[in-house]
């Protein structure tokens, strides 16, 4: 399949009073057209930082921001901010933020909020943009008259659909979904997942789905990247990760998910995720890992290719 996004050695460090936070520490992955990559992991492992690094929505306290982000063969890390804003952000890569449905402007009608990126980025005139906004709302399963409503008149699920419509406004090829259903009820969540599946099938969108919920990610993900302590510890297809996880962290994480239909004894991972100001030496998972060997404390395991298109960073698999 055609590879549209390739990320190599991406780093994003923040400067804080306590020291440098290595939120994203040299991660590499790629994304193919029409494919969904889920980035999963516990809170504080760098999932959202990865997203804002790709979208270049950087806070002021950036210490290190480097690596390669290659979009359709072009390294967009080398673009200046102005060009990035005009050509990439929202046009090629857009994002649905976590809890975005609560950040709709309460005093502006929904239709205009969806039309805004069209007016600003695509330079459409207002009426044309508004009628396009209605089309977009219909695309995400809302009646067109919703365009004339204010956010407080809509339910949580409807607002989430509006935010998805905004992300789709400029026809991007990649949409980053950061916990797109985290504040929604289970039935509404299932409805939104169905919508995302439908959109993906109809317009060969690529998603990067960021979630802590491995049950939910199975609804969309073709590939999965498991993150721990600012690093990707395992990357593979959905089947490989769900049915045959190799990294001990992925195994433990999967074993901790309650399932409804099958019976299994749940496990948990003792301890807490590492502090990214002073992460543990060697493999960052070694203090919580049941298979720690002496080498794990000394050397960082390489992110190595174990099978075709499958990577694991663990000394159990050589290295």
């Amino acid at each position: 399949m055609e590879e549209i996004l390739k990320i190599r050695d991406l780093k994003l460090y923040y400067r804080t009073l306590r020291g440098t936070v290595r939120a994203v520490d040299s991660i590499s992955f790629h994304l193919c057209k029409g494919e969904t990559l889920a980035i999963v992991g516990e809170s504080g492992c760098g999932k959202t930082s990865t997203a804002i690094a790709i979208m270049r929505l950087l806070p002021r306290n950036i210490d290190v921001y480097e690596g390669e982000i290659i979009l359709n063969g072009v390294n967009i890390m080398q673009m200046d901010d102005e060009r990035f804003r005009k050509e990439i952000s929202w046009r090629k890569i857009s994002m649905v933020f976590q809890g975005a449905m609560n950040s709709l402007n309460p005093v502006i009608k929904v239709g205009f909020q969806v039309a805004e990126p069209l007016i600003i980025h695509a330079k459409m005139d207002k009426n044309k943009a508004l009628s396009k906004a209605r089309e977009l709302l219909e695309l995400v399963g809302l009646p067109a008259f919703i365009a004339d409503r204010y956010p407080h008149e809509l339910s949580g699920g409807m607002k989430q659909r509006v935010v998805i419509a905004m992300a789709l406004a400029l026809n991007p090829s990649i949409v980053i979904l950061d916990e797109p259903t985290s504040a929604l009820d289970v039935i509404t969540q299932a409805n939104i997942m169905n919508l995302l599946k439908k959109l993906k099938k109809e317009s060969s969108l690529s998603y990067i789905l960021i979630t802590h919920d491995l049950a939910l990610s199975s609804e969309l993900a073709d590939k999965i990247a498991v993150m721990y302590g600012g690093k990707i510890v395992e990357y593979g297809t959905s089947e490989q990760i769900y049915l045959d996880a190799k990294h001990p962290y992925s195994q433990k994480l999967l074993a901790s998910i309650p399932t409804l239909r099958t019976d299994k004894k749940l496990e948990f991972i003792p301890g807490a995720p590492p502090d990214l100001v002073s992460p543990p030496s060697g493999c960052r998972f070694h203090p919580r890992c049941p298979y720690t060997m002496p080498i794990c404390k000394e050397k960082e395991p390489p992110f190595q290719n174990v099978e075709e298109d499958r990577y694991v960073a663990c000394f159990l698999y050589g290295g």
Binding site: I187, S256, P258, T262, L266
Partner: protein
């Protein structure tokens, strides 16, 4: 309803209506809980599951008299406590505790762990052996070595550790009944199970009855014996957790179970059968069956007019649907 000798707490036809005052007009009511009955045996866990706005938190708080019930009865240990004054409620306040959802806001940021746990003892006039009790309860919730934790402030603790402090605080007066309101939903997946297992262990050790309020059916199996599914202020189905997951009878329960994915890579190729719409506005609940607007099986006649009663189907299963018989696979 018959008073079963074994039940610790029994709720009969409980209603909690919140009035909305309107100028020169009759007030209207938000019927958050509208005629709910259940009982919880000693050492048993009843899970209450429902979408947001279904009234589950209001129900939990009303059971503790933190919200005054509009009508109905709450019988605790054979004694009607629905209308007792605050003074008379003292012993109930000791025996019935709550664990809140968000350990980031339920702990006072200015109190150390020690102080947070001392507070209930001070209020209840315990003078002797406070620190022994605090050390004991911290061991119970596995915040060990205890010395490391007693002088910490909440901001120095992780989410899971904070929730343990909140559990310790609920536990320190040796309660017999605890309302656990979404105790794990703010925590990381890897920690959730640990906390649920801890609650289960404490239940066995001290014989505590729990009312476990959650929106996540998947966790219920690991920490409950029975489940009550709430929709728009009413219980629509009740019964043994395993039989409900295996064979949900009420169309709403069916939808709820169908909506939850298990981690399975094949999920991405299929669309889930889900019901449209959102739960009704509790000010203006539909007449007849409250679920009829979203129900795929509504007959558009009886379901619109007649409110279904919670009927008994044996083996503890009770369902409020006119057509429940049709959904029983036998």
């Amino acid at each position: 309803m018959i008073l079963s000798a074994n039940s610790l707490i029994e709720v009969q036809d409980l209603k909690v209506w919140f009035p909305i005052k309107r100028f020169l007009r009759e007030p209207i009511f938000v019927k958050a809980v509208d005629g709910v009955s259940f009982n919880i045996a000693r050492g048993e866990t009843l899970a209450v599951v429902g979408e947001s706005g279904s009234g589950k938190t209001t129900l939990g708080k009303a059971c503790l008299r933190l919200i005054e019930p509009t009508s109905g009865r709450i019988i605790y240990d054979g004694k009607d406590i629905t209308r007792l004054s605050n003074e008379e409620l003292r012993s109930y306040r000791r025996e019935a505790q709550i664990i809140y959802q968000d350990p980031f806001s339920s702990l006072n940021p200015f109190f150390t762990v020690y102080r947070a746990l001392e507070e209930p003892l001070i209020i209840n006039g315990v003078k002797k052996g406070r620190s022994e009790q605090i050390y004991k309860v911290l061991e119970d919730v596995k915040l060990t070595p205890v010395e490391e934790f007693v002088n910490k402030y909440p901001h120095m603790l992780s989410g899971g550790q904070r929730q343990r402090v909140a559990i310790a605080r609920a536990l320190i007066l040796r309660p017999r009944f605890i309302v656990a309101d979404e105790p794990v939903s703010m925590l990381d997946v890897s920690v959730r199970v640990e906390i649920l297992y801890l609650l289960k262990e404490l239940q066995h050790k001290y014989g505590i009855s729990f009312l476990y309020i959650t929106h996540d059916i998947a966790t219920v199996k690991y920490f409950s014996d029975r489940i009550a599914v709430m929709y728009a202020g009413k219980i629509v189905e009740m019964g043994n957790i395993r039989s409900i997951i295996a064979e949900p009878i009420h169309p709403y329960t069916q939808a709820l179970v169908e909506a939850i994915p298990d981690p399975d890579p094949r999920n991405r190729f299929v669309e889930r059968k889900v019901i449209p719409g959102e739960p009704p506005n509790p000010i203006n609940v539909p007449l007849g069956c409250r679920f009829h607007l979203r129900c795929p099986y509504s007959d558009r006649r009886r379901c619109l007019k007649e409110e279904p009663e919670l009927r008994d189907f044996g083996d503890g299963r009770r369902v409020a649907c006119h057509y429940a018989e049709q959904f029983i696979k036998r």
